[in-house]
């Protein structure tokens, strides 16, 4: 196990969610669930984050900011789409401006179902994402050694 899995920092982006899933994400940070005991911190800064928690169906207005947040995160990184809107567009999927799920804009690693997604399943999604994060790190190292660079090197 690497340090990555022991200290996953998250950044949360609301892509026009109804706020239901967002409240559940915040619930996971409160003393009841206290995800900080797993080293999880809500950073608010994509450059510090390892995991992007994204809620809501992406629309024309916010697909650029979402892409921007994703691009600013340093590798290795994973994306978790939280709630049914982030997975498929949910009940908003037929709106004229809605793109559909988050995966229409950025690659998604874990889908957490639910409307709204429960804090338990969000934490479960993050734990699943940790395994993917480790795999991405291993792939990054392999790719790096093939290209003659290593992690921690300036890009």
């Amino acid at each position: 196990m690497t340090y990555l899995a022991k200290s996953p920092w998250i950044v949360h982006y609301n892509a026009s969610s109804c706020n239901g899933c967002d409240i559940e994400i915040l619930a996971a940070l409160t003393p009841v669930f206290d995800v900080e005991r797993f080293g999880i911190i809500n950073t608010g800064n994509p450059k510090h984050a390892d995991i992007l928690l994204c809620t809501g169906s992406v629309n024309e207005q916010n697909k650029v900011p979402l892409k921007n947040v994703y691009d600013q995160m340093p590798e290795p990184k994973v994306v978790i789409a939280i709630g049914i809107c982030a997975a498929t567009g949910g009940i908003f999927r037929e709106c004229y401006n809605v793109q559909g799920g988050i995966d229409k804009v950025i690659p998604v690693d874990v889908f957490v179902p639910g409307c709204a997604a429960r804090p338990e399943s969000i934490i479960d999604g993050v734990v699943t994402a940790l395994g993917i994060l480790e795999k991405k790190r291993a792939a990054m190292l392999q790719k790096g050694s093939a290209e003659g660079t290593k992690a921690g090197e300036t890009v």
Binding site: T2, Y3, L4, K6, S7, L29, P31, D34, E36, R37, F38, G39, I41, N42, T43, G44, N45, K47, H48, D50, Q72, P74, E75, P76, R137, M140, A151, G152, E153, T154, V155
Partner: protein
């Protein structure tokens, strides 16, 4: 026994090797105690080490390459300041290196293009303006009591310095809140999970660069708590107790106060801490010059 001429070098080396471990441990205990105060379980004690280990596993996306230089300089001068202090060097030189290291982090934040980073840099500058006079007054106060700016002389003095400098000590504790990035004075950046103007000075640092900033903080912790030791140096047991109590108070203040605006921070540091320090120094001067010349 180590020969006397090598002692400063040995102390400096011990600081360079042990301070990050001790500082990281202090940060971990800090986070645990903070969590317990908020009714949470909290992260493991070793969590700061996991965090920094992870940051060095990430890629290093830099906005401008000069950032790398500034961050490295911040870390190096923080280590130099602490090493000078623990090798018994001149307090004024220590303060000079300490300030210089903070100027480098401000330059690093200004080097990027993010407005959040610039706001953080401005706030960091305000913090430096706020705490600097009090830090210098601490050195001057210790000079007035022990007649030396050298840490080696101050620490071996049999005089209980705290009895001569209670005002300076309280003033130092006030600016310590700024230095440890504790609420209500955590303006430029904070260790908490909340998101004041994204992350202030650290906004545009990621991966290994952020890791270096964290390690510099650990060195800083040990240095700042070392200054508390000087006040109680005549009795090591009392000194350790004072450090523990002072740090616990900082955590308590951190968890009971909300962040203030920069004006109030500057007033607290200059008017309250500054007055306490100046009155204390004035009384010492009067006693030294008039009562017992």
């Amino acid at each position: 026994m180590i020969p006397a001429e090598f002692q400063p070098i040995v102390y400096a080396l011990v600081y360079i090797l042990v301070a990050p471990l001790l500082g990281g441990l202090i940060a971990g205990i800090d986070r645990k105690v903070t969590a317990r105060m908020q009714g949470r379980v909290g992260p493991p004690i070793l969590q700061p080490f996991y965090d920094v280990g992870k940051l060095f596993e990430k890629e290093n996306p830099v906005v401008t390459v000069t950032q790398n230089f500034y961050v490295l300089s911040y870390l190096v001068f923080m280590v130099v300041a602490g090493a000078l202090f623990f090798s018994g060097g001149d307090m004024l030189l220590v303060i000079f290196a300490f300030t210089l290291s903070h100027i480098f982090i401000v330059l690093g934040a200004y080097a990027s293009y993010s407005p959040y980073s610039h706001v953080g840099a401005e706030r960091e500058l305000l913090q430096i303006i706020a705490y600097e006079p009090m830090i210098i007054m601490t050195a001057v106060g210790m000079y007035m009591v022990t007649k030396s700016f050298f840490v080696s002389t101050i620490v071996s003095s049999a005089v209980p310095i705290i009895l001569y400098l209670p005002g300076v000590f309280i003033g130092y504790l006030i600016v310590l809140t700024i230095k440890l990035r504790k609420s209500p004075f955590d303006l430029s950046t904070s260790h908490h999970a909340h998101q004041e103007i994204v992350k202030g000075v650290t906004t545009d640092f990621a991966g290994p660069n952020l890791g270096k900033i964290e390690i510099a903080h650990w060195y800083e912790y040990v240095f700042l708590l070392g200054v508390i030791w000087l006040f109680f140096a005549w009795n090591p047991l009392v000194a350790v107790a004072a450090i523990v109590v002072a740090y616990f108070l900082e955590i308590l203040i951190d968890n009971t106060f909300s962040r203030v605006k920069w004006q109030l921070m500057l007033r607290s540091a200059w008017i309250i801490a500054g007055t306490l320090g100046l009155v204390n120094l004035g009384v010492l001067y009067y006693l030294g010059m008039v009562v017992m010349p």
